[in-house]
């Protein structure tokens, strides 16, 4: 891997203007995702997921606001992780007037493929503050090991 300084501190760099323009465009276009649109078949119908690989485990995180533990089902078959569940709809009252509806209720399912080097036996899942975190250990041989090199 090449080592290139990320941010050169050149005063009054002409390219700064382009950097500003680019980041401004990223902000504008990235912003379209929020607030999330609604609908069963929309993006929010399957939860947004992050997958991070560290040296000894795979961490999967999903945003599941309003989903209760008892309504959530996790399944790991081989390297396929399925997150399935439902979000309950609040009870309706005759006199209730709805002004805005952006939050979503209903069932969802999402399957993702994890790297092949995972250990299916060692899985730990936690649902906290509307975020599901699943930790799956890597197989021993797949873990990166620091090798000390003796210099003579």
């Amino acid at each position: 891997m090449e080592l290139v300084p990320w941010n050169r501190n050149v005063p009054h760099d002409l390219w700064d203007a382009f950097d500003d323009l680019r980041s401004e465009m990223e902000r504008s276009f990235g912003g379209f995702r929020f607030p999330d649109a609604t609908g069963l078949l929309d993006r929010t119908g399957s939860p947004a997921i992050d997958v991070v690989e560290t040296h000894d485990e795979i961490l999967v995180m999903a945003d599941l606001p309003g989903v209760r533990k008892e309504d959530l089902e996790l399944n790991l078959a081989g390297t396929l992780l399925t997150i399935k569940g439902s979000k309950r709809n609040e009870q309706n009252s005759e006199k209730r007037r709805i002004f805005r509806k952006e939050t979503w209720a209903g069932s969802f399912a999402r399957t993702i493929e994890l790297p092949a080097n995972i250990n299916n036996e060692s899985v730990d899942a936690e649902l906290k503050d509307g975020v599901l975190s699943v930790r799956i250990s890597k197989r021993e041989e797949a873990k990166t090991k620091a090798i000390s090199v003796r210099v003579e």
Partner: protein, 116 residues
């Protein structure tokens, strides 16, 4: 550091929000996954209700294989009208959903007048 102050400003996410009214109570429901009670700040100043939420914990370090969840803090600002009782605002955070209850002042509630 970028010289443009706007480019350096923190990007705030607008949480998905539902609003309904049921017999004198306006309920706001906001999706704020990852926000802890400590990271939540609900404040009222004059006619402005500000809701700010910060995700708890640090992002993990490692190689990102998939990154779909939005990073950043949530902020939503509402303007309250005169009918909302400023002293009776309740907020509750559970399972990543924030529920804010705004009570309508007694004087502003519709009432039936008996005809003699």
């Amino acid at each position: 550091m970028n010289k443009n102050p706007i480019a350096n400003a923190e990007r705030m996410l607008i949480p998905a929000c539902s609003i309904d009214e049921d017999v004198g109570v306006v309920t706001l429901k906001l999706e704020t996954p990852g926000v802890t009670k400590e990271g939540l700040n609900v404040s009222v100043e004059a006619n402005t209700l500000t809701i700010e939420g910060r995700r708890g914990g640090n992002p993990p370090s490692g190689e990102w294989l998939l990154r779909e969840r939005p990073a950043g803090s949530y902020r939503k600002i509402f303007t309250l009208d005169e009918t909302i009782d400023r002293d009776k605002i309740e907020a509750q955070l559970a399972d990543g959903m924030l529920t804010v209850r705004l009570h309508i002042q007694e004087a502003a509630k519709p009432r039936e007048i008996a005809i003699n």
